[in-house]
Symmetry: none
Subunit: 199 residues, 4 copies
DNA sequence: TATGAATGAGGGTTCATTCAT
DNA sequence: GATGAATGAACCCTCATTCAT
């Protein structure tokens, strides 16, 4: 009996994951507005009504996905960071940002889907509700770094927020339209300014 | 005859202005997506078909409005600047930004409508097509300022772009949700960083 | 469960028949062009969107109806033919035509709706797709008749086509405007010519 | 003064001819339904309102054109006939029909525009109202031929009507879709039947 | 749970026609 | 006569959401 229930629960999770995957593929391929609920359920192989058993509407699934994908990006970057042995806290921040920019440069569809909402994803209150989360994010990592050094930085959280906003909006334009500079030329300028902010 | 024609042309301009005003009011009150062409023409007191004599679709009127309103903001700020006698080029940039932020703080609906598209409005190629423009913008003003001083700045255009992006995205969050700080507390920190970038 | 499903399917068929009936009534009463999809769904008592679950557009329902009604006409005539004992293949063709002409004379709205498309309905490739059909049509009946007699006719199919076209276009004018003669006076002349063609 | 008035009248005629030419070109290029009044006036280089000074609506101009073009076809064929010296009245009818079929085969757009309305154009009461006409048509020519020979034909007008209807509907299908036979193979069969009808 | 038929408001757009100029 | 801006009904169609099964 308990096994049957577990199966049902697993089945539910599979269906939900299925819907999320389908939605993500379609959102990045054709855009959120251009993707209908019908498209999503077709791809997922479930009935239209089923969608509404799992999500309130199309935008709930979008929010969920933005947060999930953003988190994955940071997690991957932080994992890479731990393999290196970078001491300087500024270099550590830049390493993570560089890592994520490279990911975006490789996957422009992901960039288009997330970028404009990156900081929202990081700071959203929804994050805890939606995703069962135990991993450390960029913000916590940075604040801990700051605590561990002697240099005093005013308003470290605000500074980090500024860095994230500036980075995500300018990098978006740089990657998608090479303006004001192509990403590889823009990077050194960006990192220079980040260092200034963190000094 | 010529007078009659003039009347017709004036009439057309009045109607166009009417549609733009109505659209702007509705866009800021309920959002672009939630506003239908029907809503706009109802408010403007014209027939639905008339809308399509002036604009291709809802999004053309949106673009037009974003650019127009952005331009007005900068013009007002630049006019104010000219009344003061600020010499330092960094202070001049900050004066303009401060001016615009205050405007946004007073008019949050305008902020919501424009902010996310501010840099697009500034750099859009559409600007010249849509709006008959003879006035100077922030970019030109800044570049001229730079030319007139001896200090050499690397990539001034890129720096300005970074400032605009960082400002508009962080200020948006600050004004609409007081995060990471309320706008009055955030301002000095922001201006400090802008000065660093311009040094 | 199976019974429930059957109910749904029956329900669907009722709704489709409902839409077809409503469309047919409106098409014959006011004409196809003057009938809107809105009119059809109003009469059928379903929502607009429902229409598009069953038909691609107004013209698909029109095609469907023309073929369906034409087929019914021929079927009825052929059924009558079988009750008689007419041996001569020419008389058999004329019997069917006469039968259909009488039907048209009684129902001028049907005539207006179908007549101009009668041969299209007979020869259309769509016939097999749209209507699940096992009954024999005029063409097959005639060709079989021809096979069963010794007299050799050149190009029997072409001759039949000529008869159908000549009949439907002249009968249309005769019934709707009594030109060049009222239908009862025209019939003998027409049948005389048909016999000549078939000899 | 009188000269000025004539100029105005000529101007009107030029404008009307202009509208007719434009409409005919568009009707045959894209079809009547697909041609808007706007299209016609654009091509004619006049204002939309001007159209309604000359024609009640799009369908009046269509009727006018069908009749005009049909008349031209018959006139041309009859002129050709007069250059030959064909004595047999049946051959004379067939000569004219052959002439017109060839014209249609060369100009399929014209065929599509006229064919379905050929007999309407011949017998329409509108003909005298719309077109100032002094020339002889097929009907009159044929009836005169009949009078001049000794052989008695029953209902000659009816027979001619049948020939025209049968010809125009079958030829249309033959030329546009090679069914039931390509036009060159179909012609001899058709002419054989016409001869039978006229005997 | 899961289904998918049904809904119906709303989308953008076209266009014949009118009428003030 | 000539204009063309304005009208607004009608067009077809989409789609998020509901609900009986």
């Amino acid at each position: 009996m308990r096994i049957l229930k577990r199966k049902i629960i697993e089945n539910k999770e599979i269906k939900e994951a299925n819907l999320l995957d389908s939605a993500f593929t379609l959102f990045t391929e054709k855009g959120v507005k251009e993707t209908s609920v019908q498209d999503i359920v077709n791809k997922a192989g479930v009935a239209k009504g089923t969608f509404y058993l799992y999500f309130k509407d199309k935008y709930e699934i979008q929010d969920y996905l933005i947060i999930k994908k953003s988190k994955q990006l940071f997690e991957k970057a932080i994992t890479s960071l731990k393999e290196k042995n970078i001491q300087d806290y500024r270099e550590r921040v830049i390493f993570i940002i560089d890592n994520i920019i490279d990911e975006f440069a490789k996957n422009k569809l992901l960039l288009k889907f997330i970028s404009k909402n990156l900081s929202w994803a990081i700071y959203s209150d929804k994050i805890s509700n939606i995703i069962d989360d135990s991993s450390i994010g960029l913000v916590d990592l940075f604040l801990e770094d700051i605590k561990n050094i002697n240099i005093k930085i005013d308003n470290p959280e605000v500074k980090l927020f500024m860095i994230i906003e500036m980075t995500s909006s300018t990098v978006y334009t740089s990657i998608t339209s090479n303006k004001p500079l192509p990403i590889e030329k823009y990077k050194p300028i960006l990192y220079e300014e980040i260092k200034k902010i963190l000094s």
